[in-house]
């Protein structure tokens, strides 16, 4: 007879999104900033520091060092990281804050370099030449582009000499450009949604993070796997509801591919790297290559009972926290979360 103890978890009313990384508080909730008033429990985009003036969307980021907490019982308990802060005095965030704009706007991203090495910014899907110089420590650099098309995109430390190591340290995040009329990913009925979530995928190698300048990169091997900067059981659930359409914006700013699968429900792939597909296709598990984005729509069946949990996880089984074991059994960790069906 199998014992089942249902955990008394309340469905977290959160948008899966960027975290405020506090050096002390390991139990901080992922930020919840729902933008829909009708269903405050539904997943939505996290808050973005970008502000609109006329047709110019300005986003300011401060590249700085910080600390990322790891799940309780992990060794180490936290790792040094480099992340983008949303304000001059705010903590480094991993992943960086969501950059959010609307199609047609001129987007101006200002990077303030609080690191001790030069840093630039790379927006691979936007029409910008790569910046191999960036800003010196203490200086700023500004990037400006027109958000020509809606979609899910990436931003990360750019191609200065130390750029790739900076990305591995945590300097990366998601850029979302919404269509003119909200409610769809790309202005089409096929990409219409009720709830949406950004799902940023990364790995952390504590040995590398301890010595980023000198670490031998051929030995880089993440031991912690993150969704939106957290490893299970600290990952945020993705709240949705029966009969609702959920848009999952997968953003892989890690160094490995991740095949993201669901249990008990399928996902329809509607876009890749911010390009809407002419013909969507439905799968259970889809590979999200390193550096790429994939948008899927999950149509939640109408009859699902409130409280139902549907696993969303790395089918390649990065489901541990550095192999942590309790009573001889590897604890669930890493790149795992749940879609939760709300009331």
């Amino acid at each position: 007879m199998c014992l089942r103890i249902r955990a008394a978890l309340t469905a977290l009313a959160l948008a899966v999104g960027a975290l405020t990384v506090a050096s002390a508080s390991a139990a901080a909730d992922p930020i919840s900033h729902p933008t829909t008033s009708a269903l405050s429990a539904a997943a939505a985009l996290p808050a973005s520091p970008c502000t609109l003036s006329g047709t110019v969307r300005t986003c300011e980021l401060w590249a700085r060092s910080g600390t990322l907490p790891l799940p309780a019982g992990s060794t180490p308990a936290s790792v040094p990281v480099w992340g983008y802060a949303a304000s001059a005095t705010g903590p480094a965030e991993v992943p960086g804050p969501l950059l959010l704009a609307t199609v047609g706007e001129t987007v101006r991203v200002v990077v303030h370099n609080l690191l001790t090495v030069p840093t630039s910014l790379l927006l691979p899907e936007q029409n910008l030449p790569p910046d191999t110089t960036g800003a010196a420590p203490g200086e700023d650099v500004t990037y400006e582009f027109v958000a020509a098309r809606p979609g899910t995109f990436t931003y990360e430390a750019g191609l200065t000499a130390g750029g790739p190591r900076q990305v591995a340290m945590g300097l990366a995040g998601a850029l979302v450009v919404g269509p003119a009329t909200p409610g769809t990913g790309y202005g089409t009925p096929e990409t219409g949604y009720d709830d949406e979530a950004v799902v940023v995928l990364q790995g952390i190698d504590p040995a590398f993070n301890a010595a980023p300048a000198t670490f031998e990169m051929s030995k880089y091997r993440p031991r912690f796997w993150l969704i939106n900067g957290r490893a299970f059981p600290d990952t945020g659930a993705v709240a949705t509801g029966a009969g609702r359409r959920l848009l999952l914006r997968f953003v892989n700013v890690g160094l490995e591919d991740h095949a993201m699968s669901l249990v008990g429900i399928h996902q329809t792939v509607v876009a890749a790297d911010g390009n809407p597909l002419a013909h969507a296709y439905t799968v259970l598990s889809e590979n999200i290559a390193a550096g790429s984005t994939v948008d899927t729509i999950v149509a939640v069946p109408a009859g699902l009972a409130p409280g139902t949990r549907l696993a969303l996880y790395d089918a390649g089984r990065h489901l541990d926290n550095a192999g942590h074991v309790t009573d001889g059994v590897t604890d669930f960790g890493g790149m795992l979360t749940f879609l939760t069906v709300g009331p």
Binding site: M1, C2, L3, R4, I5, R6, A7, R223, F232, P233, D257, A259, S261, L262, V263, G264, I265, H266, H279, Y281, T282, V283, L284, S285, E286, N287, P301, A305, T308, R309, A311, D314, A315, G316, R317, L319, D320, A322, G323, V325, T326, G328, V329, T330, D331, F332, F338
Partner: protein, 434 residues
Amino acid sequence: MDLWYGANGPATRTARTSRAAAAFLAVGALLLTSGSAALPAAEPGESGIVCTTSSSATFSLTTAGGYVGIPDGNTVFMWSYSLAGGGFQLPGPVLCVTEGDTVTITLQNTLPEPVSLMLPGVTGMTANGSLAQPVYTDGRLTSLVPAAPTGGTVTYQFTATDPGSYLYQSGTDPAKQVQMGLYGALVVRPADHADWAYGTEASRFNPDAEYLALLSEVDPDLHAAVERGAAYDVTKLHPRYWMINGRSFPDTIAPNYSAWLPNQPYGSLIHIRPKDPVANPYPALVRYVNVGDRIHPFHPHGNHGRTIGRDAHPLVADVDQSFENFLADVGPGQTWDVTYDWTDVEQWNPDTNPIPVPLPQDQNLVYKDDATWYGGSPYLGVTDSLPVGVTSYNECGEYYQMWHSHALNEAANFEAGFGGMMTLERIDPPGGCP
């Protein structure tokens, strides 16, 4: 020695024979188990998918430990699902059901830790009557679906609503248990067309040429740790063996139920004839199922395939989204249904249409280990002499192509090639071999 198939209770096993002429295997006896055992309905063919069916879509599985053989002489301890009353087998049985069936799978667990059976691609699966949900013990997640404790049983049930190929695997301590071998495949056939992959004629295939290619990796050191009861560190995973249907090349091309592979019943030889609009109009179907932890870029060398569906979703429904290429990039947790035709375009014939270039001389051909599948002649259906001392496995001038994971480290047994995730496509002359 573990033996195979006492089919027990309502489950029977039928196989797709690849060629009527080669249906019979000269292999060991079928064991009848105690009680109301039923003999399988048909002898399994040398090659082709081996289905376990049940008139009531009810299957009794049990977990078991056992050993599998690798062509380099090693044996590896593994865990797997086996048919209750049957012997250990890797992978678990291929469960074949029909669209609309209510499928019941009872899992009895004999292993020293809780084990579950998860079908990620199935919606609405219940466990012991309730929707299968993640299990928490003392506030910690311990299983993605309800598990059977040691000595215990769980009954899973679902309605097979969507035709296609599915994987099943343990949802408990998956990084260890799935690596140990707790996996298998499920096939749902459309209600009225057993030779369609999906509910559309565009997915029709040759039922005598249906294959499973279940892809997995094996880290023998981690398996040895389990065998000895030592600690298992998932972060040290380093696979050395690579498998199709639980076997490594060249065992992959051995017949189904080969006597020397008693715990590994399923081969993956693809055995077809040239496409012919009258005699052989429908393609072969390969159901790729990746229960591993990495992409296996499977390359059907010499013969492109058409992907007609993924994860039990057709790509040939209202809109034709099927595509042809030389690689099925099957990722973790994915199933890909791919069809293959081989068309004799040139129709080379030594008398009426000879190959218009000089043929390579024997001394310019290489025979690895003095063995070959080459018949001595490049003409389909023709054999010719080979250098003295070379052993040929060719029967009647058929063609062979090597199909393999194009991550070439996986086409090896512990870094020694050829081996691992590799099989052969065999193309017989139009009339087959005598």
